[in-house]
Structure formats: C-alpha cells, structure tokens
C-alpha cells in the first residue's frame, strides 16, 4: 500500500496512526514479526529516525515488543489489542457522529441509522469491524 | 597517495600519447627498412612523400599533445569541474600540484626517450648491426668533444638543467593558470595575460638584481673572474650553478604562488 502524508501533521504521528490501524485490522496479526525500521522507512520514503520514533511509541503502549536479537513483534496480548481497537474506533465514531450531527441528525436517528446499517450488512470476518464494536 | 595520483596522470596521458609513440616508432622502423632495401628514387614518388609527411606530422603531434596535456591536465582536472573531485580527495593541495608537475615531467622525459627510440629503431631498420655499434661509438666521441670533460657527467648535468628549465616553465604556467582562475570570466585570457605579466616581473626583478650587483661591485667581480676563467671548465661550472640557483628560486616562488591561490583562493565555478 502506498504511503501518503498530509502536511501540517508531524510525520511520526501519521506513521503511528497507520501502524496502529494495520495492527488493529490484522495486516500485522498478533505475534507477527514487523519489518525492520530501515526497510519500512524505505517503503514509506521517510527518515529511519522518524519510523523509529513511531515504533518507540508503539512499544511504550505495549502493542509492540522488541526481542533483542530477532527483531520487533506485534504483541500477543489480546487486552492490549482490544484497547488499541477501542481507542482507534473511538476516534472514528467521534468523527462520524459529529459529522452526522452537523448534518442535522438527532442522536436517536443516528442510532437507528447504525442499526439499519448493521442489519443490512451481516457481520463478516474482516472489514469495517471497528465501527460495529463501538456500538455493541 | 602521491604515487596513486601520479599513476592516474600516467593513465590520463598514456591513453592519448602512447598510441602516438607506437605509431611514430612503428613508422620510423618502416622508413628505416625502406632506406635499407628500397632504391633511393622510391622516396621521390608520392608514396614516399606521404610516408615522410605522415611521419613528420606524427612527431609534431606527439610534441604538441604532450605540451597541451601538461597544461590541460592541470587546468581541466584541478580548476574546472573535475576540481570538485580532486579537491575532495583526502590529500593536501601541495600533493595535488606536485602530482601534476611530476606527471608532466615524466611525460616530457618519456617524450625524449621516445624520440631517441624513434631514431634508434629507424637506424636498426636502416643498417646492419655491425654499423650500429660503430655509430654509438661515434656519438659518444662527439659528446666528449662537445663537453670538454667527461661526456657522461656533462650530459647528466645538462639533462638536470634541462629538467629544471622545463620545471620553471611548467610552474610558471601553473601559476599563470591559478592567477587566471581568480577571474570569474575570461579565465583563459586572464591566464595568458598572467603568463606574460610574470615574464615582465621576471625581467624587472633581473634588472633590479643586476643594478644592485653593479652598485655593490659584485657584478664587476664576477665579470673579471669570468674573463680570467673564460672558456675554462670553471667558467662553465659557474654558468651551470647560476642557472640551477635561478631555476630553483623561480620554481619555489611559482609553487608558492600556485599553492596559495589553490589552497586559500580556490574559485571553482
């Protein structure tokens, strides 16, 4: 997937967001080995130090851990991953709901709309899961 | 580092000069064979004329190319775009200048050797071996007559002086190029003017020194000494020593000017 960066937002934050999403969505499944910093930096076309900074942040949050000799891995800890999904989905829900409110929808209308959407789109294995979980 | 730099001078000159040497020497051998085996009138027809003309052109081309390369290797390799590479090498400016000067000197000497080789090879083609030995004896006797004393020693001294005079001219050219390089435009013109400017300075300096010599009576002393010694070995030695000292002084001055301008006032564009 191509990396794109928006202006005016620190690049390490944008990388962080991207890596969090990739881990939450299972692009990097629990326990998986992550590519080396330099390789990923090259793929993204960013400075290795910036990539390193994003990784350090992920490590602090306990989503990623380093094994001294063999590299970096996604955590196998389900609670940490659930926490990650929740925090990501909170952002998405917050953005979606405030847009809907701006469009003039009432809160119960939003709930109805989400209910309708879930019944029309039966749960599948992947995809827009984070949105559903937030409304469970 | 210096030897590596000189190695690259060898390659840079060699790729142009060596084919010229080979062609000249090869052709001279053919001419020699022609002299030996062909009747004399073979040289008056157009083939003979063409061969001789080609031979002369090759000799002139070799000499001109050697001279051109001596200047061009300094200008193009140090003062034009390649200067960005050369002045980024982990060597001092003096090493760069020295490598150019020694490279040029080596090729000037190789040119002389190639000239001797050309003549020798032509002779080899032209005459039987017995006569070559006799010719060599003749040459050494002629040299002996020419230089009063032992021919070989004198020969070496004059070679040394020739090398020094060549070095003086070379360093004067380098200094002139370095001065011309200070301009932002018309650098070649600047260099040519600088060369003649240096000539003027040299004669002014010589004039001043002569005047000082006359006033202090030093010149008078020398002249009377020279009159006493005239034509003798001592007189010759005096002339040689004076030439060597003058050359060394000029080489030092020109080198210092070149070094200063290249190390402290480099102006690559």
């Amino acid at each position: 997937m191509k990396w794109r960066f928006e202006s005016g937002i620190p690049i390490y934050l944008q990388i962080l967001e991207r890596l969090r999403t990739d881990i939450a969505s299972g692009t990097y499944p629990p326990g998986a080995k992550l590519p080396p910093v330099r390789e990923l930096a090259l793929e993204a076309g960013v400075n290795p130090n910036t990539m390193q900074r994003a990784f350090a942040e992920l490590e602090r949050d306990g989503i990623v851990y380093t094994q001294r000799t063999s590299g970096r891995f996604v955590t196998g800890d389900e609670t940490a991953l659930r926490q990650l999904r929740r925090s990501l989905s909170e952002g998405v829900v917050d953005e979606m709901c405030s847009r809907l409110v701006r469009m003039g929808m009432k809160k119960d209308e939003i709930v109805t709309a989400v209910r309708e959407w879930t019944s029309e789109n039966p749960e599948n294995k992947e995809g827009p899961g984070s949105c559903l979980k937030a409304n469970e | 580092m210096l030897t590596k730099l000189i190695g690259y001078e060898m390659k840079a000159f060699g790729r142009i000069i060596l084919p010229l040497y080979a062609a000249t020497i090869g052709l001279s051998f053919l001419i020699g064979l022609g002299i030996r085996f062909l009747p004399e009138k073979a040289y008056t027809n157009w083939v003979g004329g063409l061969v001789i003309t080609t031979f002369s052109v090759l000799i002139v081309a070799t000499m001109v190319m050697t001279a051109v390369l001596c200047v061009q290797r300094f200008y193009q390799n140090l003062l034009a775009n390649e200067g960005y590479l050369m002045f980024s090498l982990p060597v001092g400016t003096h090493t760069l200048i020295l490598s150019k000067a020694l490279g040029a000197l080596i090729w000037a000497l190789l040119g002389c050797l190639a000239g001797i080789a050309t003549m020798t090879v032509m002779a080899l083609g032209a005459m039987p071996f017995r006569e070559i030995g006799r010719a060599l004896r003749d040459i050494s006797m002629a040299l002996n007559r020419l230089f009063l004393r032992d021919g070989l020693v004198q020969c070496l001294i004059w070679t040394l002086i020739a090398v020094l005079l060549f070095a003086v001219m070379l360093m004067q050219i380098y200094a002139a190029l370095a001065i011309g390089h200070q301009w932002t435009a018309h650098r070649i013109l600047g260099s040519v003017l600088a060369y003649f400017g240096i000539d003027i300075l040299k004669s002014v300096a010589a004039g001043i020194l002569t005047n000082i010599g006359v006033y202090t009576g030093f010149i008078g002393l020398l002249v009377s000494q020279a009159e006493a010694d005239a034509g003798s070995a001592a007189w010759m030695a005096g002339v040689q020593t004076a030439t060597v000292i003058q050359s060394l002084v000029l080489i030092v001055v020109f080198s210092a000017v070149t070094w200063f301008l290249l190390d402290r006032r480099l102006n690559l564009e």
Binding site: S7, P10, N47 | A12, Y84, S88, P90, L266, L268
Partner: protein, 231 residues
Amino acid sequence: MAVLECIDLEKWYGNVKALNGVNLALEPGRIVGLVGPNGSGKTTLIKLAQHLLTPTHGQILIGGMEPGAETKEIVSYLPDRDFLPGWMNVESLLDFYSDFYPDFDAGRAGQMLDALQIDPHRVFKKLSKGTREKVQLIMTMSRRASVYLLDEPIAGVDPAARDYILRTIISNYSENGLVLLSTHLITDVEPVLDEVVFLKQGHVELHENADALRERTGMSVDGYFREVFRC
C-alpha cells in the same frame, strides 16, 4: 557532540556577504535539510565545509577539525554538477574511489550499479545525464562517511529519479553519519528530513526538528518556508 559546527562564520565575495555570521551545530545520525532560496548561501556553506572555499571570518569545524585533508577522509561530497572525469569508464571510477577513500564500499556500489544495469565498461561522459547523476550519487553514498554533503541532489530530475535518489540516501547513509542536503524543493524531500535549517540572506533563520516544526506551526515545512520567505 556536533560533527559539523559553524561559529560566527562569514564569507565575503569582494564586497558581497554570502554568509553573515552563521552559527550552527549539527549532530551525527541525522538527515538535515539545508533550505533557502537561490543565493541564500547554501552552496557557499557546503563548499566551506569541504575547504573549496576559505572563511573570511569565523570558523567551520568537521569533527572538531578545520576542513582539510583529514576531514575529507570522513566527508563524502556530492557537488551540484558533473564532477567525475568523463574519459574514465565506470569500472575505473570504482577503482579510483577505492584507491583514495578507505571507507569506500566497492561491493555495495557495484551492486547498485548492477541493479541499474549500468555497463561498467561504458565511459562516464557517454552515459545519459540521468545515469551520470545516479552514478555520482552511488559513488558518494557508497562511502561509510561521517558526513555526507549533498548539494541539490534532486534539482531538475523527474519524479521517478527523485524517488530513487531519496531511497538511495536513506538506505545507504551510515547510521552515525550526518546527511546535510541542500535543496530549494522542500516538498519533495520533506518526509526524509529530521531537521531543517532555513538560510536567509546568509544567516540561519531557523534550525528545528521537522516534526516539531509541523506540530508547532500546523503547517508543512514547505508551507512554513513559503510563509517565511514570502516576497
């Protein structure tokens, strides 16, 4: 410890001040963008660091030393023009670099040239302009240097070549090396920069971490640059 340091650095060309009291300290392991409009002194600063010019006042130090033969051993420099001898072929250029720079990794350079399918027997001046630029970049980045000085490496190249150049820089600079990269095309290099130095009329207008600048101003480095240098 700063690996490149300028102290009250001034450079005059006749009566024109090209650099006017530059104070700067750059740390190893960073990629630093030296940005500024044409004539702001970028090339002058880089040439001073490589002893191709001498300061009028003040000092510039590389690893604590004044520029000279010793510093050139640890500095890898890419000028903003063709600088390799045109008559040499690519293979003899590799030999040349191996001869003079102990830190030159000929194997790595050879691999990169192979990847571009450049025939090592081709004479340098017969290569296309784009290929010549890539060869020069490969030679420069194949040294394990402490400082890389790259003068306008992406000026006038197409987007594909620009990507190639930036990737080559990121994947080859030694981890503890400083990369100082001058450019007036900031957008293109923004993602690879750790820090930016804005040069304005011969002095340092700003020296900041690139992400910190984006956070502080809410603008891209390029956007902020346009603000600072608005005519």
